[in-house]
Symmetry: D2
Subunit: 391 residues, 4 copies
């Protein structure tokens, strides 16, 4: 990812001191030099906002009291000074309201997932987006990894034949105990349905597994059969999910997402089996893509510039020679890089090529609702339809 000037002027809602994901966004945006932070409403606490802004080198006049003030004020600045892109890294319930206002005011939006709290809100946001000329991106960071693109490219090229089985899993362990009660803020708001939405684990990480499966297998999940669980006393939302599913192209599969897999870190993993071969990728070792064939020794394709057997989509998402690890921030930086390029090329919305957008958000929301519906009901299979809704 090479920067091309001019830098995109960027503002933040959320991401004050102590907020992990906001800092990650700033680091990812900073990595390739394509962005310039110009303003922020980092926190509900004005002191935090001022301090964060100062540490980041912002002038006090562009550290705003709240996001409404920021949108209003920035919109009045000269075109060559005002913020172009708003990054939203607040708790979930604010994603859609802020995005909606920002788009109406003419700002591009890059939002943490989920795009909205429920399908209704999301469809409303989509309408706003379509009425604007702005771009909208969603931080499905794992879709920024080069070897994920390499896997999809090999599936599309028929290297593994017709896809039969998709096994995707995302076991985490950090919610195995009641960490919210111990003061973990991340755990706290995630378990509050008014801030987090209907899904707990299923929304937080299940959607990552879901979008990865659809992306790599290159076909939508049509039906699912789910069992959710909540294991820690007092917890309101699910912390554990497992499901069987059927895909549009004829493949079937299993999706596991859990936050009570004690001791696990972040090993999101996908395996795709076709009639000729198979692919395996694991986020904790993102440079390696395992390729199995029916009657050949297995091969490990490795990330790294200058390897001609890697597809173009993978190659342009790498920065370093093989053996120099790139990770999570580089994957997110790939999303930022493509978003910057789309803004610079004066693309009109709603999507930036290479960046998950509103449709990825809709699929994820349909997935959450189908999983919860199926879990609560008696039927074995439930359709994952964009139109379906719990509401």
């Amino acid at each position: 990812m090479n920067p091309v000037a001019p830098k995109i002027r960027m503002g933040f809602v959320g991401g004050g001191e102590g907020a992990f994901i906001g800092q990650a966004h700033r680091q990812a945006a900073g990595l390739d030099g394509g962005f310039e932070l110009v303003c922020g409403a980092f926190s509900r606490d004005p002191h935090n906002t001022r301090q964060t802004g100062a540490a980041l080198g912002l002038t006090a006049s562009r550290c705003y009291h709240d996001w409404q003030q920021m949108l209003d004020t920035e919109a009045l600045l000269p075109l060559d000074q005002r913020m172009e892109l708003l990054v939203i890294v607040t708790p979930n319930h604010l994603h859609a309201p802020i995005a909606s206002q920002a788009l109406k005011a003419g700002f591009h939006v890059f939002s943490e997932k989920p795009a909205a709290l429920d399908l209704k809100e999301l469809l409303a946001l989509k309408q706003v987006l379509q009425g604007s000329r702005c771009l909208y991106g969603l931080a499905h960071t794992y879709l920024g990894y080069p070897m994920v693109w390499q896997a999809r490219d090999m599936v599309r090229a028929g290297v593994i034949g017709a896809v039969r089985k998709v096994l995707v899993e995302y076991p985490q362990g950090w919610l195995s105990q009641d960490v919210a009660a111990q003061g973990n803020k991340q755990a706290e708001w995630r378990d509050d349905p008014s801030q987090s939405g209907l899904g707990g684990c299923i929304g937080d990480i299940g959607t990552h597994a879901f979008s990865l499966a659809e992306f790599v297998a290159d076909q939508p999940i049509q039906q699912l059969c789910a069992a959710l669980g909540t294991h820690v006393p007092g917890r309101q939302l699910d912390d554990d999910a497992a499901m069987l599913f059927k895909m549009a192209g004829g493949a079937s599969g299993v999706l596991i997402a859990s936050q009570v897999c004690t001791g696990e870190e972040n090993p999101l993993k996908i395996r795709v089996y076709g009639d000729k071969g198979a692919l395996e990728w694991r986020q904790e070792e993102p440079a390696s893509l395992i390729h199995r064939a029916f009657d050949q020794p297995l091969r490990i394709l490795r990330s790294g510039v200058g390897q001609p057997w890697l597809c173009e989509a993978a190659q342009r998402r790498m920065r370093l020679p093989a053996g120099h690890p790139e990770g999570y921030l580089e994957a997110m930086a790939n999303l930022y890089g493509d978003f910057a390029q789309a803004i610079r090329s004066h693309a009109e919305g709603p999507d930036a090529p290479g960046v998950p957008g509103i449709e990825t958000g809709l699929r994820g929301m349909a997935f959450i609702e189908a999983a919860i519906l199926n879990h609560r009901g008696e039927a074995k299979w439930t359709a994952v339809q964009t139109g379906a809704s719990l509401l």
Copy 2:
């Protein structure tokens, strides 16, 4: 596993030249020196039987035309010469008829799995067994691995707390293509319901995953929700299965068993998550047991004699210092070793301590039938009951 004389006199049904599993049984029985092969009816082809017997050093008079002849003739030999133990390594449909006859004739039986073709046949066999004074063992070989016992011991000791999640998977790839049509005998009879039973993959390897899950998590699976598949045109039985399940002790889980996971060898794997910690074991690297705890770096416990932190049940199943790999044959030899010890100690049936027996067979059969029932029906959940039956 140390031998204690006298050697047990052993005969084989099946396992002629070209039969993989018969040779594995002889190697496993030979490893620790506790057995002496004295007779066999190795094949329906008398020439094969004679040649196999000769290569194994048997006198021609104890290479029998068929298993009935063998049982009849051996029963007439003096007590200190006649076969004591019959090993059954034929195709599935003969397991129960032969075992039944052998038990009636007073021979101990060690049988390849499954114990029978269906629940009805199995219950009849159980009755014969209970009416005999003989021992009965079933080659659930993976339950012979030392670190599987270590895992169960740690679960029982509460090291990982209350078990919440059990993820067990057994992906193989050898049936991804139509190998039966290419002359693979193993594939051929396995897809013939009259020889193999109602289940294909679900019976062949699903039962291994099932018994491993119940053994390590130390609680029975009560309910399941399954999706089976058959992927190769012309194939009659399932070659692929996935299911959600609920256990008696409150845990839930996922079981995956497939023979169309192209390129996979034999990576049976189990992960058990409790509220304090977790365990992970994989058959392809059987010496390592991964132990995760909520707030500690992970540890890898390794197989090998003389490590005081391993439980007694694991220690007595090891032969070599850490770093000297022991594998599949050693695991099977552990079953043979415990079976020999039970025979030598004049135990009366039906089970030999440490060896899977008729109850393991019953659980496996109940599992197969519940999975098929659930797959064919509309209900989301089906009980795994020994009493339940497709018939």
Copy 3:
């Protein structure tokens, strides 16, 4: 690594289009937001310089014809606008001359390694540095990895007891064939002694292995016994090195550095064995630190914020929770972060805490010279002395 404003104003010598390491430096500097690129002399080709500058958002007036012009012109700018830090990413032979001039002109310097072409040049540079009030840093990037600091901390804390053995290896494969003849620029200048210095592989990557060994084992290497090799016809410098060594604290060890280990990427690896335990770290999987003890199962300590068993020095070099990979650019960004902090705190040279500096450069040069001397001579052991010299 958290940024603290104001940003450090940074200029580059080298790093034009097509130069890998220059871009890596800019990405690393950009990651945490502590720097602002204000000027550059990116290439001997003025067109390249202009184009690179434009893509990076520089005004044409601060894209300089050459580094002398840059130093002269920047020195005349107002204090609050002029470059504060010069980053040197040219071929090796220019490192010392440029650094020397920059320091004399009052600019801080962060230089690619080696610091100079030979010991004489390096000692002269050191004198200039000591006469200045500037800071000097050297891009020994692997010393920026958090788990390298964790390893050193555990050695210092006595966790593994008295260090006995240090095994360090750095096998690469990219020079297995004559890639210079195929137009690989990196390979080309690296094999020209007038640009690269006396050592080929020994200088390029041997010094990384050497500095890692001294850093983690926390004691200097005193004597070595080396064998160098050159395997590709026409190549002038060594492409392969192996040596035995003895350390000041009583440990002995082996160092392997080779660029003809066909197929290897960049698996720099160190193992340190003490009388109580051992540590193992590998750059290609930098988040894991393996800890073995004499009579305990092995543990794997993993990188990731918020794990209280990690030392403070490691913790402050991490950005993300465990399981979110950080890599090479993050390690380099850690050097930049510490350098920025030292500049901001008005530290006076020569070293920035946490950043390898002139002494690391001197040790590396002494190592190169000792290895070549030993290889060429008859003696078994050669001292690694800062004062020793081939010249």
Copy 4:
């Protein structure tokens, strides 16, 4: 490895209760059914001998007081009853005297390594062997692994091109502390030069690394430069060795063998780098052979019957399909299988095809002596010559 009757009648010297390696030999010999234990002098303690014999099912008359008595008595038995093969599993100093007497008495010999305590004794043994019509085998067990043969075959076939670098390492940790003082018998006699020979670690495991290197790289080591160490107070022999070496075919390399690498189990490992590709094999995961090529993704060849890309020499050393681990005992059983076949085919000595023999012993002894000579002397390089001697 398939047995072919008749079974070879086998006797043991050493290997009484509590002796690890004797039991391993019996298990390995028992695995494929090619041997029958007929007699033994298992211990200097007659009680131990009787008890061991009884447990193994021997009649008391063939449990001998000592090995001389055994040789004498067995020699008088009828040809179709007497022992054919003597297995020697005593401490080192008895290997040559017993082998010599056995060969003179007309018995084949399979001996634990080393073949003798020093070169002089070994050359005398060689003369006896050449004067006999017997076969002699040496338990270099690691040369029985199928993927070691696969690696050698690929080297010979030119798959990796001309061999340039050989890195072989054998780090163990069990002698990191003074375990002899804690009653470890294995450690005790190994540190007594009168029982163990001149080399400690260098003889015990260095020779394994050495023979593996020569075998796989398919060329002898000609010169070496060594550093030995002894780290535990009171220990007499070396417990640690490292050396550089040069091979006859132009390759150079590094050999590391140590028993003070705290926490290491038995990870003997070899890497061979040619100008086209490279191979890597590790004993703790013996089923995998990693193949790297200059410009291709790496491949992992896996052990397992029926894979046509494996060489014949590897295929005949496997018993099970891929994914069913075979280990150390299976590797040793491969040596026994080839030895049995040679005996059955009435081969006349001194070597059995496929089994390391007296020449492997001579190379190992020359290696030990060269390493010690070099370590003690001033010269940088010492030749590894069968004729060279410390004596």
